[in-house]
Symmetry: C2
Subunit: 368 residues, 2 copies
């Protein structure tokens, strides 16, 4: 019950040495006599001393903390929503005062996506063994982005891990402009000299195409992701290329927004023009779930009549009926690598912006 009054000085006195020595022991600096080191350790143990982080940060100029930023693009609200009737959720709450609505809806939507759970899991997996912990920040407005840069400029965190939900997210560029260490998940849309991890999306599209062809499907179509996002474009491009190489010049497409509903809508659109489809590549699992549901509602059998390939291998791939054949994105590994890159940048071990591209992998389940 020594609530924070215990200082290095106290421990030093207890151990009969100087502050500096105790500090050395704590920080594992070599030049310490093993005998003295043990005495000091025991004194620390006995007193229950815990070093004050603020004091340490003040001199080291490091916090051993990273900001994990979930970043949107909106200047105000984001238009892509349209669904007034849906979920309204805790929508209006911050703690009652108005104005938190937009932010909260954004946060709610984001954290409902299994993708972010995997990102968090990967980041925590890297940080925790190092006794580091991420500060979670949501930045979907200009004001919120300002909070992020302020936070870093105050030295509250050593750098930022940025996961953008939209193309045109200005945050990466802002951070770089301020000279603040940052690493992105996915290549920023605008060219910015910043490190990032990403997936070989094109390769993923190719895997999906080849798998559908190998299953004997020939009347193919695809539900794409948002085509202003590199991920959306590239997955489509890879899919198309592979089909082209196999002799198929044209493939119907419908654009989705990476949400379940948009997937169902896109599929409905495709079916309207091409009722005889027998295979569809859907650019993420959430949309693939929507596709499967729509097909079932219309009495279509998956995979007997229509084969469905998803993307991500997120938790819904397993939840979905039938479980989805999908292109796996190793999100946890990528997130861990993102944290590692930032860690290296902050320590000065790495100087130049670096990209780490991961390979996708086909996971075959029951939807094909």
């Amino acid at each position: 019950m020594e609530r924070q009054s215990l200082t290095l000085e106290d421990v030093a006195r207890e151990a009969g040495v100087s502050r500096a020595t105790v500090s050395r022991v704590i920080n594992g600096v070599r030049n310490v006599d093993p005998a003295i080191r043990d005495v000091v350790r025991e004194a620390i143990e006995r007193t229950g001393y815990a070093p004050n982080r603020a004091a340490r940060s003040l001199v080291t100029r490091r916090t051993e903390t990273f900001a994990l930023v979930i970043s949107g693009a909106g200047e105000e609200s984001d238009g892509e929503r349209g669904d007034g009737g849906e979920r309204g959720d805790g929508g209006e709450r911050g703690d009652g005062r108005p104005g938190d609505g937009v932010q909260n809806a954004f946060a709610a939507r984001v954290f409902a996506d299994p993708f972010f759970g995997r990102v968090i899991s990967g980041v925590v997996g890297f940080l925790r063994p190092r006794s580091m912990h991420p500060v979670l920040m949501v930045a979907e407005s200009a004001a919120a982005r300002k909070q992020v840069t302020e936070f870093l400029r105050q030295g509250s965190a050593d750098g930022a891990l940025v996961v953008s939900t939209h193309a045109e997210d200005p945050l990466p560029a802002q951070l770089v402009a301020e000279g603040l260490p940052a690493v992105c998940f996915a290549r920023p849309t605008q060219p910015v000299p910043v490190s990032y991890v990403d997936l070989a999306h094109r390769e993923g599209g190719r895997l999906a195409a080849e798998h559908l062809l190998a299953r004997g499907r020939r009347r193919l179509a695809t539900v794409t992701g948002p085509l202003d996002l590199p991920a959306g474009q590239e997955r489509l491009a890879g899919f198309r290329e592979a089909l082209e190489r196999a002799g198929t010049a044209y493939v119907p497409i419908a654009e989705g927004a990476f949400t379940r509903e948009s997937g169902a809508a896109a599929m409905a659109e495709l079916l309207a023009g091409h009722p005889d489809l027998d295979g569809v590549f859907v650019a993420n699992d959430l949309m693939a779930q929507g596709v499967c549901e729509l097909l079932r509602e219309r009495g279509g059998q998956v995979p007997q009549e229509v084969a469905v390939v998803g993307f991500d291998d997120s938790s819904v791939a397993l939840t979905c009926r039938p479980p989805l054949t999908t292109v796996r994105q190793p999100v946890e590994e990528m997130a861990a690598a993102m944290a590692r890159l930032l860690h290296e940048h902050v320590r000065g071990v790495r100087k130049e912006p670096t990209s780490l591209i991961f390979e996708p992998e086909l996971v075959v389940r029951d939807s094909t």
Copy 2:
């Protein structure tokens, strides 16, 4: 591009006043001449000054940061290290390579549950307007819990928001024992003098029972949550009580673990003993989804043959086919209130441990 070298002193010089005055302006202390105040503000603006948090924390003894702890119960140490709070960055792991297995699996499972997304959303909703941000911590082992208490004892955060995933989580008691400010989501299983927010679970069970009865269902059963958890017990108790009052003395039960799979398994068990069920109360939505899937696999119609009532009103309640009638738990509000309580405790505005109990609400959709 003034990367952190700008201090109060610089701004003071720029404005032609003393450090103290600038500090007063920044902190909104009253006794400042309006004219001078404006001059100072302009100087801050012009220089792009950002106060150093570590320095401020060192003197105020506050970080304006809360830890958001997702806490499990596991006793087995994950072998990370047995350190006594030393810094050493020794542990070279956490790149998603083997060795992080236990912790990573826990994190992955936790963040796949839509419940936590709602908690995070609520917490962020309260904190962000105050320019505060939660530090995310995962604590499923004794070593990890040690990290949490160390973190707080170092003054890295002002207090902890604790969300336990298991009964018998020792963390709340540990925090209280150390005199560290904490607020829990849900009443701790062992009696601990700590503030918490919770739901009137019993009332929720009652709502479910009455709704099923009102729908004319008479051959009822329930899939409970883990019965070592108050939430599991209470939801069951409320359900039973309401049925008792309506004249039904006995109701078949099967225990689940709040996961989809466990829900399906429990339902299979119930059907084996009672093939003629026409209504079931399932203690959370995830399990209810499993129940619906199992019923569909067996050709049972929901709600025509079996009505299903879930609990939580989480995102799966909408995803589920059919969309679930469920007992809504206002998780976002509760999480925001939890943050508010901690905020009050930390400021000293609130002294005594306080409980805030929220009322559940029936949301009728298509599964009944």
